[in-house]
Symmetry: C2
Subunit: 321 residues, 2 copies
């Protein structure tokens, strides 16, 4: 693509909508690079978004997330769906590049033009998933993906964040990855719309299911609430995947009929708008008169001359009054 | 404590400074509850802060964080230091209460009045550690703790956050917890000021040290930069703890002589001021005229009538112009 073509936002958007992988790649790179063109890109994409179903896939390292994602792509492709995959590594704001180690396993689909696969690092301090991932989702959505799988590395905060981004959150577990209490610690019991015990042919898989079932049974769920199913898979062999796709479809039907889909998407848009607004403000107050207002205030707080609340008031007064 | 005494901020601060555990507990509860009294509390604490050394302790579930924290407290107490412990569970913004499961192990120190131990949940969506933990640190700092240990559950984002909060970040590993690639994924190689291989009497501990050493050797460190040491402990038996304390002291000397302590503390204050300012703004734009401005904008974004950038502009224009 020529330099000029790369800067031609309406052209890029048109080609991405026509399914041209290079145009999609270029738009996602603009997102990753926090390009000044992003405003124009997002404005051009807006009318074409809202169709894709977003599935978050999370779980501790070692449960088989990449293999499961790969198997799920095959299953979805078999039913003729266009599929996007975003593999996000939110754990390291420092490295500035996604770890591509196990991406190679996804090469099964490398030649399928109805599958778009991309690894992303989520950079930035405050941003995390909140910043780049929703924008990349918009690109894939406008590019005509029916389903987008968002796979995150790691546990902890990232799981909670993925739950905020996805229509359906799938939590993967596997035998031998630590006991139930550890699972509870990671907060996974509160975010899953469906639970998948992978490596179901290994010792202990049945125990994981039993533990999970008893823990999920403790949660109070109001009448009409979704009750997360527990599925068993051997992703490596493709076993159990049709049942996973059926459960995803069930959840989608419930999302539609309960009004929860609209609520989740509205919440996602709120978070996205806020992240952009906050970032804009941070850049305003972070860089004024050479040395920043915020730096001066931080120095005063460190010295005990003022407290963080008074400093925050001062900061806001400078920029919002 | 009477209701009146609980509201008497100058009195509470005075009693906390005198080392009264109940006053310290009450002040931290005000932090956890996001009490409207916090502004007054933080203003009263400000002149008495800046003395405590903050040590972050992180690592995957199962490496022995609680046991190590416990052993470290014993070691620090032996040298006469007043010690505060904050155990933060950042993984679940939903539960609204820290998981107290393994806190019981800390009971060794329950009767020592120069040790203050507290479990905290870090609530809130945007806040995470950024919001409550620094304020709790201010309370313990003003209450005369020489050292404050901040222990976080989980891996991923929380580790990066703890590195932002602490003067010295200690990363715990243990044999049998997954291979080196997994460690790299969790981003721990970028945040540790010291690395501790716990359960050093188990098979594989030496291998963990070797792997870690080779991975750390890959990092480019400029002349004069701190080179994170790797220490071996058996926290359960208190083995290796004097060496950990010595390494913490070495790192503190380096922090002082290099000017890095001032930089880290300034960055911490910046983050804290920003978190408070952003939260104040969010509450302004989240709740105006009954239905919020932000909700309206989110609905327009979901419908594809506008894009998140244009919506963020509109939001900021409403509140900052």
């Amino acid at each position: 693509m020529s330099r000029r073509a790369e800067q031609d936002v309406p052209g890029l958007v048109e080609r991405a909508r026509a399914g041209e992988a290079r145009a999609v790649a270029r738009l996602i790179s603009l997102v990753e690079d926090e390009s000044p063109l992003l405003r124009e890109v997002m404005a051009a994409l807006a009318p074409h978004t809202g169709n894709a179903q977003v599935i978050g896939i999370t779980g501790s390292p070692g449960v088989g997330k990449s293999t499961s994602t790969n198997a799920l792509v095959s299953e979805l492709r078999a039913s003729g769906k266009r599929v996007g995959v975003l593999a996000v590594d939110p754990s390291s704001p420092f490295s500035g590049g996604a770890l591509l180690g196990d991406r190679v396993r996804m090469q099964d689909h490398a030649l399928d033009r109805d599958v778009y696969i991309r690894s992303m690092a989520s950079r930035g301090h405050l941003g995390g998933l909140a910043w780049t991932t929703p924008q990349a989702l918009r690109v894939l959505d406008a590019a005509g993906c029916d389903v987008i799988l968002v796979e995150t590395v790691g546990v902890g905060q990232s799981e909670v964040e993925i739950a905020g981004l996805a229509d359906t959150t799938m939590v993967l577990l596997a035998p031998g990855m630590g006991d139930g209490i550890q699972a509870a610690k990671a907060g996974i019991l509160e975010i899953g719309d469906l639970y998948v015990v992978n490596k179901a042919d290994r010792d202990g898989a049945e125990q994981v299911r039993r533990d999970l079932r008893s823990m999920l049974a403790l949660a109070e769920r109001p009448e009409g609430a979704w009750r997360p199913p527990i599925l068993m898979t051997v992703a490596q062999k493709g076993e159990g995947l049709p049942e996973v796709v059926a459960a995803i479809d069930d959840h989608r039907s419930w999302l539609d009929s309960s009004g929860e889909l609209a609520r989740r998407r509205s919440r996602r848009a709120r978070d996205e708008i806020e992240a952009i607004a906050v970032t804009a403000l941070r850049s305003r107050w972070g860089d004024v008169h050479g040395r920043s207002e915020l730096d001066e205030l931080a120095t005063a707080v460190v010295a005990g001359r003022t407290d963080p609340y008074a400093a925050a008031d001062e900061l806001l007064a400078t920029f919002t009054d």
